[in-house]
């Protein structure tokens, strides 16, 4: 600044000068409202959910008596436990499917595409931003009794009666989940792949590895962080998915999300629903931690990054 000669510049107040000078303080001031909002609208409700899970439903009212009864009821019900177990398995299957199918595409976009990288990325990103409900709904019309597959097979003369095994089973749920969550897998894997220094691959080739060995010994280990991120990003939220099992799962494809919903709907037992939610989240977290533990040896690849 240019100060007019003589007159000493007016000093800003202590607080203002601290805010002006301390960028860390500015950072905290900026993020404070966001943290307050998230705390108020997510952490507080989750806390209340936890509290609710120890309460008791009496007729139409929730009674604030501390009890482990809900958890005991849930753990004592093989049917409900089975649904939670099935949810974990279905999500795991969907996650594995997505990652396996998406990895080669991520690798192709990262290494194989030269000119239209942005276009490829756009193509896989658009579905990410479009309606989840409609993307799931689309599978209902494909797999349905009068759906795309059945009617095509019939008109081609391959079958003469619609197949009923397509829809309303866990496989339909896995298929639909895998499809709907594909962009979530592709992007993290792509990012970790595109961060691999090309000269590392060239160095491995130079040191005598075939392309296959380069993949196993260099590319795959270095892209593991992306694979891990993608897996968690799909596995964790899908366990509690409600839309997909409801639309394409049928009775055999029901998942824990539907169970929770029924407790807040027809069954009208909020505390039990809360307990099941908490139990499901604990199970998911445990599974995720186990997964992280197994893959932790791939965690430290910092030195290899560009």
């Amino acid at each position: 600044m240019t100060v007019t000669a003589g007159a000493p510049p007016r000093r800003p107040s202590r607080l203002r000068s601290r805010i002006g000078a301390d960028s860390r303080l500015r950072g905290y001031l900026l993020i404070l409202p966001v943290l307050l909002f998230v705390g108020l609208s997510l952490l507080y409700p989750l806390g209340l959910l936890l509290l609710n899970s120890f309460w008791r439903q009496e007729g139409m009212d929730v009674v604030a008596d501390f009890t482990f009864g809900n958890y005991a009821a849930f753990l004592g019900s093989p049917g409900q436990l089975l649904i939670l177990g099935k949810s974990l398995l279905v999500s795991l299957a969907a996650t594995l499917t997505v990652v396996l199918f998406s990895y080669p595409v991520a690798a192709y976009i990262a290494f194989g595409v030269q000119k239209h990288k942005a276009l490829w990325l756009l193509a896989v990103t658009i579905p990410f931003w479009t309606s989840y409900l409609l993307r799931v709904f689309a599978w209902k019309i494909i797999l349905g009794y009068n759906g795309v597959i059945n009617s095509s097979l019939i008109s081609l003369g391959i079958i003469d009666k619609p197949l009923e095994i397509l829809l309303y089973n866990p496989f339909a749920v896995v298929l639909t989940l895998a499809h709907a969550w594909a962009p979530f897998a592709l992007l993290p894997i792509f990012i970790s792949l595109s961060r691999i220094d090309r000269s590392l691959i060239e160095a491995a080739r130079d040191l005598g590895d075939s392309m296959f060995h380069v993949f196993c010994r260099v590319i795959l280990p270095l892209s593991m962080p992306g694979v891990v991120a993608a897996s968690l990003l799909i596995f964790i939220p899908t366990v509690g998915d409600y839309v997909t099992p409801q639309l394409v799962g049928g009775t055999s494809g029901l998942m824990v999300g539907n169970l929770i919903q029924s407790m807040f709907g027809r069954a009208n037992n909020w505390p039990l629903g809360a307990a099941i939610s908490v139990a499901a989240m604990i199970a998911v977290t445990a599974a995720a931690c186990l997964f992280l533990h197994v893959t932790s040896r791939y965690g430290n690849t910092k030195g290899a990054r560009r």
């Binding site: 600044m1 100060v3 000093r11």
Partner: protein, 370 residues
């Protein structure tokens, strides 16, 4: 004597347990081209950022143009900065970048336009005022950053390694340009660099820094020809160091007994009164002041030539002395000659007045560097 432009008094800066600036005190005169030279991590950029107001000092006082700037944010200081990355605003044109700082001065529109036009003229980019930064070359961006910082007529211009991103040829061109502009506007320039040739070529005075301290503050020629301690001598250019013990110190010349090299004579200029017989010292001599062969100079070291590096304009020769230590000799290639040169047993010689007598550590006046 000229007025002090910047007065730095007992400035300390720590980041947690790390001391980046350790009790720095010196003054910069008005209209001076002053360089802060040192290896990366020596604290020179931190000192510049302290002056610019981007970071507060942990302790100490700082006065700019005679006034304390303590607690003043950058926008209230009579300084402007040319950033290492140039930090041109990517969404504004060249002219808008230069005019950016004029808004808060509340100058009339016509006045602002005049300043922008003359700034563009000064950096010889009058035709490119409408371009965006990404449409400029590195050298052009550098000049826009300079013009933008000067447009507010600061009392002090701070330059943070502004030439480090340019290639060698462009850098030398810009050095000339910087010097010309500094003479033209006549304000104090504080120039941070790790390039010693740049600092030597540009500065009126310079401070050599290392590990948060100023090792020596002087004119470029004195920094080069009369370093006050081993660290400065080693950091600027190359230097031969011969450790020994003073046998006699009379008049202008000291006799130093050096292991494996016999008796060497060195000038006593700095060390008079401090260097007494029996004290351990270092005789320092620049490689270009050492000649190969008998020259009649008083100091002679015999050895064998172990290697030669050819640099075009000069050659560096490594001579192995009797004790196994290496003597570096730099000789200009004044005449065209293809290959060949002295080999085998040779004698290196230099004049006592070209040799500097240094204490083993610290300075002669008792201050300890680093």
């Amino acid at each position: 004597m000229a007025r002090h432009s910047v007065e730095i008094d007992a400035i300390r800066k720590t980041f947690g347990a790390l001391t980046v600036l350790d009790d720095i005190s010196f003054s910069i005169e008005e209209g001076e081209f002053f360089s802060l030279l040192g290896p990366s991590g020596c604290g020179k950029t931190t000192l510049l950022r302290l002056i610019g107001g981007f970071e507060p000092a942990t302790s100490g006082r700082l006065r700019i143009d005679g006034q304390s700037v303590e607690g003043l944010p950058p926008e209230m200081r009579p300084t402007n900065t040319v950033f290492q990355s140039y930090a041109l605003f990517p969404h504004l044109t060249v002219a808008e970048n230069i005019a950016y700082g004029l808004r808060s001065l509340k100058l009339p529109k016509a006045e602002q336009e005049k300043i922008v036009a003359s700034s563009l003229d000064m950096i010889r980019l009058s035709k490119l005022g409408g371009r965006k930064p990404h449409e400029l070359s590195g050298g052009q961006r550098q000049r826009v950053a300079l013009a933008r910082a000067l447009a507010r007529r600061p009392k002090v211009l701070l330059l943070d390694e502004p030439l480090s991103a340019l290639d060698k040829q462009l850098r030398e061109e810009m050095q000339m340009e910087l010097r010309r502009i500094q003479r033209q506007v006549g304000i104090t320039f504080i120039f941070v660099t790790h390039d010693q040739e740049e600092a030597l070529a540009l500065s009126d005075r310079m401070a050599v820094m290392s590990r948060g301290r100023v090792l020596q503050l002087d004119t470029p020629s004195r920094i080069y020809e009369a370093p006050e301690n081993r660290d400065v001598a080693a950091f600027i250019g190359s230097m031969n160091f011969f450790d020994g013990v003073i046998e006699a110190a009379e008049g202008e010349i000291a006799d130093v007994r050096c292991e494996g090299k016999g008796l060497l004579k060195a000038s006593l200029t700095h060390a008079r009164g401090r260097a007494v017989p029996g004290s351990a010292v270092t005789v320092a001599v620049r490689p270009e002041k050492v000649s190969l062969g008998e020259t009649g100079a008083d100091n002679r070291i015999a050895g064998t030539l172990s290697g030669t590096a050819y640099y075009g304009d000069r050659s560096h020769m490594h001579m192995q002395a009797a004790d196994g230590s290496t003597v570096l000799i730099s000789a200009p290639n004044a005449r065209r000659a293809a290959g060949g040169g002295p080999e085998g047993a040779v004698v290196a010689s230099f004049r006592p007045e070209d040799a500097i007598l240094l204490p083993m550590t610290g300075n002669w006046d008792g201050r300890h560097a680093a």
